[in-house]
């Protein structure tokens, strides 16, 4: 029933229970977040804690939405994450295609540069990026939030890996049929690389939706904050308002959890695509 091709032994049930217990422990904090958020504000700090709220309420969410700029943070996060994801998917698909299917002077040097860059901790670029953005007058602006997010090298590496598996004969056949370069890219490369693009898109979106350090540094007005930064400042401002804070955390967590449940297959596959081959 539980084991492929073999009879389930009693030992398997013990292991299954053990696994369920461990999984519950790692999901318990998320459950605790939701429970606290649904608790009456006074009950959030009452002993003993209630495992199932006897009197669930949305008051904490209401109080959270009554705070200034909450919707603005949400639209900022959404806009910035979508803009970076769209730009990443397109530019990385283009560059990945060239690295995978074309031999041109400099291709090896540039590609090794990309690989070497993946080893550089992002924090190395923090101070110069901040100074460059200030010089360009992009501080506290969407440009400042978006541009560095597109520049990361990982997506190009991922798309090159993926596109290398496309049969070159398809591209050659299209060339013989008189397709132009742009047509080949649009009609053949893009449609065939959909699974790779989906993986890159989902991971980029998730990374950007959750990004904290760069938006913290580059924004300084409340209107330009993204959701994680807004939440962190809320935590600093009202450290003891647990009901309100957990409502805010639940609100920010739910979109990603829904996306994860919907696109689970791509998530779980995507983890292996970026890492080892073979």
């Amino acid at each position: 029933m539980f084991v492929d091709g073999k009879k389930t032994r009693p030992g398997h049930f013990v292991i299954l229970l053990l696994l369920l217990g461990t999984a519950l422990i790692s999901l318990l904090p998320l459950y605790w977040m939701v429970i606290t958020a649904l608790q009456q504000p006074t009950l959030a700090v009452t002993f003993p804690p209630e495992w199932f709220p006897s009197n669930p309420t949305l008051v904490n969410f209401q109080r959270f939405f009554n705070r200034p700029d909450v919707l603005r943070w949400t639209t900022n996060s959404l806009f910035v994450s979508l803009a970076i994801t769209g730009a990443q998917v397109l530019t990385c698909a283009m560059a990945g295609y060239a690295f995978a299917k074309k031999r041109f002077p400099g291709s090896n040097v540039v590609f090794y540069m990309y690989i070497a860059s993946m080893m550089i901790p992002g924090q190395v670029t923090l101070v110069p990026l901040f100074l460059i953005m200030s010089k360009l007058n992009f501080q506290d602006s969407y440009w400042g939030l978006i541009l560095p997010g597109i520049a990361g090298p990982f997506g190009v590496f991922l798309m090159k890996q993926f596109l290398s598996t496309l049969p070159t004969s398809l591209i050659e056949a299209a060339t013989i049929d008189g397709c132009g370069e742009l047509q080949i890219f649009r009609r053949i490369v893009l449609p065939l690389s959909k699974p790779g693009l989906a993986v890159l898109g989902i991971f980029t979106f998730m990374g950007q939706w959750n990004e904290f350090l760069w938006p913290l540094i580059i924004t300084n007005s409340s209107k330009m904050r993204t959701l994680p930064v807004g939440l962190a400042l809320l935590q600093e401002e009202l450290p003891m308002q647990y009901g309100l804070l957990m409502a805010a955390a639940t609100y920010a967590a739910i979109p990603m959890i829904i996306i994860f449940i919907m696109f689970q297959k791509y998530f779980l596959k995507g983890i292996t695509v970026g890492a080892l081959k073979g």
Binding site: F2, V3, H12, I15, L19, T22, A23, I25, S26, L27, P29, W32, M33, F47, C92, M94, A95, A98, K102, R103, Y114, I115, S117, M119, I120, P121, Q123, V124, T125, P128, L129, F130, L131, L147, P148, A151, G152, V156, M206, N210, F212, L213, P228, L231, A232, Q235, Y242, L245, M246, A248, A249, A252, M256, I257, I259, F260, F267, I271, A275, L276
Partner: protein
Amino acid sequence: MKGVFWLVALRQFGKNVVKERWAYFFIFPHFALYALFFLVPVIVSMVLSLLDYQWWGVEFVGLANYTKAFADPIFWKSVVNTAYYTLGFVPLWLGKALVISALISPFRKQIQTFFKAAFYLPHVTSAVILSMIWLWIYNPPFGLLNYILAIFGVDAVAWLGNTATAMPAIILMQVVMGGGSSIVLLSAAMNGIPAHLYEAAELDGAGPMQTYLRITLPLLKPTLLYLVITGTINSFQVFTNIYLMTQGGPQFSTTTMVYMIYDSAFKQFQFGPASAMAMVLFVITAAFAIVQFRWLGEDVEY
């Protein structure tokens, strides 16, 4: 003669460039952004680390920022703390992933996927959210952890307010929430192990423990090395949890290198010293990256 040779080579190079002009067209959009907002900042960071950069002027100071950092006991403390975090986190995190991936391996594919998804779920929420939840769980009078411990007669502890427990508390939180992607990677690698090896082991009368230690574990070595090294590099960069949960305290007991870099750059506006510290982090990370290429060279395809 030689001059002619170079001239011919240059012409050929130029011809190839023109012939493959579309390749440059495809690379240009990403490369332009990458050059401007990644490569240039890395180079500028190296230069900045040699400068005294103030709003009223810039002065070349040679290695003064480095000697200043190395003379700063808090910088050394941040190096030690980063090592402490890494040595605490990586073995526990990897151990958890190894045990769970081994335990789920005999089950049907649907059950495996269910557990992979369950353990991966916390990864999709941000470090900010997880930090907020764990601040609440670690809360000294009312938090969940002290409540559960009180059932077993343990007195309330200010987990994050104590120099001895603050770093272990952050490590514990990361271990409990982490491991999802490494479980997925390890079980993918385990599924790739040819079944005939296991059949042969069974015929030879090897028990499950022996089979795991003698067959599975050695064949997981490339994945394990990859995880150790990426896990270590990620641990070097721990920041968000520290920023939200302890601000590096109490008494610098959780000040990690990246927190220190952030603090000196964007709280004290010491851009030169911050860049010097970032360079030190870069060198340490690069050393580990080189180790990765050396050890994994044959197993990883790029």
